[in-house]
C-alpha cells in the first residue's frame, strides 16, 4: 500500500499530537499517511521539491518559495486544501491611543515593531503595505524586529506578542500584527483595553495551505483532499483534531490570496525568482 508522506514544521510540541492524530484518523479511513517534521520551512520546501515528501503543510511564505522553485525547474505545485481560518486575513498597524499618531503617514521618523524577519503577517505584508502608503522601512521609519522562531515563518505567536509588549512599554511607536491577534492581545490584556488605536489595515490575504508537488501520486493526493474536506466538526472523533489545528472546516486550496505576499517578497528581496533565499539577515 502506497503511503502519502507529508512534511510539517515543528513550531510547537503540539504538532506531534496533531499529526499523530491525523495519521490515525486517515488510517482508519483508508489512507496510508505519514508525516515528517522539519525545524524550519526552508528545509521543508527543499525536501518537497526534492521529492522527500509529497505534500507539505506550508506557510504562505513557504508556498511562495515552493512555487518559485518549482517554476524555475519547469515543475508545478498546487495548493490542495487550506483551513477556513487561512482565508481572508488582514494585518493591522497599531499605535498607542495617546500617541497623537492619527494615520500611517504619521509614522515617518518613528519606530515600528514587527515580528520575525520571515513572518508574512507581522513583517513582510505590513511593511509592504506601509511601502504602498509611501513609507519605506529603514528610510522613512526604523524597524524593530522581534525574532521569535526564525525559520518558522511567524507561526510562533511570540514575535507578535513581543511587538505588542514593546508598544505598551513605549519602546516603539507602532506594532504590526494579525487582526485576530489584536483582538486576542486586547482581550487577554497584553494590550490594555482601549489603550491602542488601529491606524492601518492591509487588504485581505490568505495564509497556510497543503502544497502538493506535481510529482505526487495524484490518486493519493485526491484521497487526502477529499478526506480533509469531509471532516465534520459534528464528528466527536474529528473535533479535537480540528480544534488543535484551529479550524472549523477545510476548504479547497486557492492561489488568489497570495499576491500581496508575492509582492512583499519581491520588494524586500526575501527570495529571488528561482526561490533562492536572498534575505541577508535571515538564518533559519
Amino acid at each position: 500500500m502506497e503511503t502519502l508522506v507529508m512534511g510539517a514544521v515543528a513550531y510547537d510540541a503540539k504538532v506531534v499530537t496533531i499529526w499523530d492524530g491525523f495519521k490515525q484518523w486517515f488510517a482508519a479511513n483508508g489512507l496510508a499517511f505519514d508525516y515528517v517534521l522539519y525545524s524550519n520551512y526552508e528545509r521543508q520546501v527543499e525536501a518537497l521539491l526534492a521529492g522527500h515528501v509529497q505534500v507539505a503543510w506550508n506557510s504562505p511564505l513557504a508556498w511562495a518559495r515552493a512555487h518559485r522553485m518549482a517554476k524555475a525547474r519547469g515543475l508545478d505545485v498546487v495548493p490542495v486544501a487550506m483551513r477556513d481560518t487561512d482565508c481572508d486575513l488582514t494585518s493591522v498597524v497599531v499605535v498607542n491611543a495617546s500617541s497623537g499618531i492619527e494615520d500611517v503617514a504619521g509614522l515617518a521618523g518613528r519606530r515600528v515593531a514587527v515580528g520575525a524577519v520571515d513572518s508574512p503577517q507581522a513583517t513582510l505584508i505590513p511593511l509592504s503595505y506601509l511601502r504602498s502608503e509611501g513609507l519605506e522601512a529603514g528610510r522613512d521609519f526604523d524597524v524593530s524586529h522581534h525574532q521569535v522562531g526564525v525559520g518558522k515563518h511567524g507561526d510562533h505567536i511570540g514575535g507578535e506578542r513581543d511587538a505588542a509588549r514593546a508598544l505598551v512599554a513605549g519602546t516603539v511607536d507602532a506594532a504590526c500584527m494579525i487582526d485576530g491577534n489584536h483582538l486576542l492581545f486586547s482581550a487577554e490584556g497584553t494590550l490594555p483595553p482601549g489603550s491602542t488605536r488601529i491606524i492601518g489595515q492591509t487588504p485581505t490575504y490568505d495564509h497556510c495551505n497543503f502544497t502538493a508537488a506535481a510529482t505526487a501520486p495524484a490518486a493519493l493526493v485526491e484521497q487526502f483532499r477529499s478526506l480533509l474536506l469531509g471532516m465534520s466538526y459534528d464528528d466527536p472523533e474529528v473535533r479535537p483534531l480540528l480544534d488543535l489545528e484551529g479550524l472549523k472546516a477545510w476548504r479547497v486550496g486557492r492561489v488568489t490570496g497570495y499576491a500581496q505576499l508575492e509582492a512583499a517578497v519581491d520588494e524586500s528581496g526575501f527570495y529571488d525568482q528561482e526561490g533562492h533565499v536572498a534575505a541577508v539577515d535571515y538564518r533559519p
Binding site: D84, T85, C87, D88, L89, T90, V92, I178, D179, G180, H182, L183, S186, A187, P193, G194, R197, I198, Q201, S232, Y233, D234, P236, E237, R239, P240, G246, L247, K248, A249
Partner: protein, 395 residues
C-alpha cells in the same frame, strides 16, 4: 427566510466581552437567518471579521460609516459541539458510562470524551437507596476531636490498668487503619455518578481518621509508649485490604468486622476505667453504627439484584478463615488487656469478673453477627456456622 436578527453592541468592544452578545445571537439564529451587528466600538469592524473567521462564520462587512458593522451568516459548525451530547441524569443510570467521567450527574456531556477508570459503574453493584439519607446523617454527625472529648478529665489509673488501656488503644488504632484503607481503596474506582455512595464512603474514611486520632491520643495521654502489634493481627487485616471485590470487601469489613466492633466499643465504653476512654469509644461507636448500617443497606441491595452473591460471600468467609488458620488470631496481649480493663484491678475476684465479661462479649459478638447474616437472607444454621468462622481478631 427570516429577516436578520439585530444585535446592538452599543459601545462594547469584542475585546471587552462583546463576543458574548454575538455568540448568543448566532446560536439563537434560525437556520439561514443572518445576524446584523451594530455598534460604536472603534475597532469593532476589524475584530468582527477576525472573530467570524475564528468561529467559522461568514461575514459581510458594511461599507462606509453608520451603525451597522456587518452581517454574520452563521457557519455550519455553530452548535455542532453539542450534537450527540448526552444528559447524564438527573435519574440514576443502570450503568454510568465511563465516558461521562467526572461530570456532575445531570450535566450534558459532550460526545467524544475520554474514558475514565471508574470500573465500579453498575448501579446494581454500588448503589443503595439508603445512601442519600445515610450521607445526610453522616454529614450532620461530624464531631471535632479537640472539643468533643474533655482531654483534661482526670485519668488516674494503676500502672497495670493504664498499660491494659494502652494495649487496647494500640489494637484499635491498627484496626481503624484497616477500616480507613479499605473504603479508600474503592473510593476512586466508584463512578462519581453514584455520588451519594462516594460521599458516604468519603465521610467514613474521615471518620476512621478521627478514630485513629482519638485512640492514639488516649494511648499517649499519660506520656507512655504505645503497646504491641502482632503478626497474627496484621495478617488478618491484610486479607481485608487485599479483597478485590467491592461487595465482598464491604461485607467482610462493615457487616462482619465493624459489626463485631460495635459490641467491642460498647463493651469498652461500659467498662472503661476512666472518662476519656469511655468518651472516645462512645464517639467511635456512633460512627461505626452508621458504617454498619450502610454496609447492611448496600449488601441487601446488591443481594436483591444478584442472589448468586450470597454463596460467594459465604465462600469468602471460608477462604479468609482458611487463610488465617495458621495464625494466632486475636493476640494474647489484647485478650488479656480486655480482661484487665473490664476487671479494673488485678485482684483475683476482679479478674474473674473481667474474664467472665470478656466471655460474654464474645457470645454477644457471635449473636450479633448471626443476626446480621440472617437479615441478609442466610439460613440461621448457615449464619451460625459462618459467624463461628469469623476472624478471632474481631475486625
Amino acid at each position: 427566510m427570516s429577516p436578520p436578527s439585530i444585535t446592538d453592541l452599543d459601545d462594547l468592544g469584542l475585546d471587552q466581552g462583546g463576543h458574548l452578545l454575538l455568540h448568543r445571537a448566532v446560536s439563537r439564529a434560525a437556520p439561514g437567518q443572518v445576524v446584523e451587528v451594530r455598534g460604536r466600538a472603534p475597532q469593532l469592524r476589524v475584530h468582527l471579521a477576525a472573530w467570524c473567521r475564528s468561529e467559522g462564520h461568514d461575514v459581510e462587512m458594511a461599507e462606509g460609516p453608520g451603525p451597522v458593522a456587518g452581517w454574520i451568516r452563521p457557519g455550519r459548525a455553530t452548535g455542532a459541539r453539542w450534537h450527540g451530547a448526552e444528559r447524564s441524569g438527573p435519574e440514576l443510570a443502570e450503568r454510568a458510562p465511563t465516558r461521562w467521567g467526572l461530570a456532575a450527574r445531570g450535566a450534558t456531556v459532550e460526545a467524544g470524551g475520554v474514558e475514565f477508570p471508574f470500573p465500579l459503574n453498575d448501579r446494581a453493584v454500588v448503589w443503595t437507596d439508603a445512601a442519600p439519607a445515610i450521607y445526610r446523617q453522616a454529614a450532620a454527625a461530624q464531631w471535632d476531636p479537640a472539643t468533643a472529648v474533655d482531654w483534661s478529665a482526670p485519668v488516674e489509673l494503676d500502672d497495670d490498668v493504664e498499660a491494659a488501656v494502652i494495649q487496647v488503644m494500640t489494637y484499635l488504632v491498627e484496626n481503624e487503619n484497616a477500616a480507613l484503607a479499605v473504603p479508600a481503596r474503592f473510593l476512586g474506582r466508584i463512578h462519581p455518578h453514584f455520588r451519594e455512595v462516594v460521599a458516604v464512603l468519603a465521610v467514613q474514611v474521615a471518620d476512621e481518621a478521627r478514630h485513629v486520632e482519638v485512640f492514639t491520643r488516649r494511648a499517649e495521654l499519660r506520656g507512655r509508649p504505645l503497646g504491641l502489634s502482632t503478626v497474627g493481627g496484621q495478617a488478618s487485616l491484610l486479607t481485608l485490604l487485599e479483597e478485590p471485590d467491592f461487595a465482598v470487601a464491604h461485607f467482610l469489613l462493615s457487616v462482619l468486622g465493624e459489626g463485631t466492633f460495635l459490641h467491642l466499643l460498647s463493651f469498652l465504653e461500659r467498662h472503661a476505667p476512666d472518662p476519656v476512654t469511655a468518651r472516645v469509644c462512645h464517639l467511635a461507636l456512633a460512627d461505626e453504627a452508621r458504617h454498619v448500617a450502610f454496609g447492611m443497606a448496600h449488601l441487601a441491595a446488591v443481594l436483591e439484584a444478584d442472589a448468586g452473591l450470597r454463596p460467594r460471600l459465604a465462600a469468602a468467609i471460608h477462604e479468609r478463615h482458611d487463610a488465617l488458620a495458621q495464625t494466632a488470631g486475636l493476640n494474647r496481649e489484647v485478650f488479656d488487656a480486655l480482661v484487665v480493663l473490664a476487671a479494673g484491678s488485678w485482684a483475683p475476684a476482679a479478674l474473674a469478673e473481667g474474664f467472665r465479661r470478656v466471655q460474654e462479649l464474645s457470645a454477644e459478638m457471635d449473636e450479633g453477627r448471626r443476626r446480621r447474616l440472617v437479615k441478609l437472607g442466610y439460613h440461621p444454621e448457615e449464619a451460625a456456622a459462618l459467624s463461628s468462622l469469623h476472624t478471632r481478631n474481631f475486625m
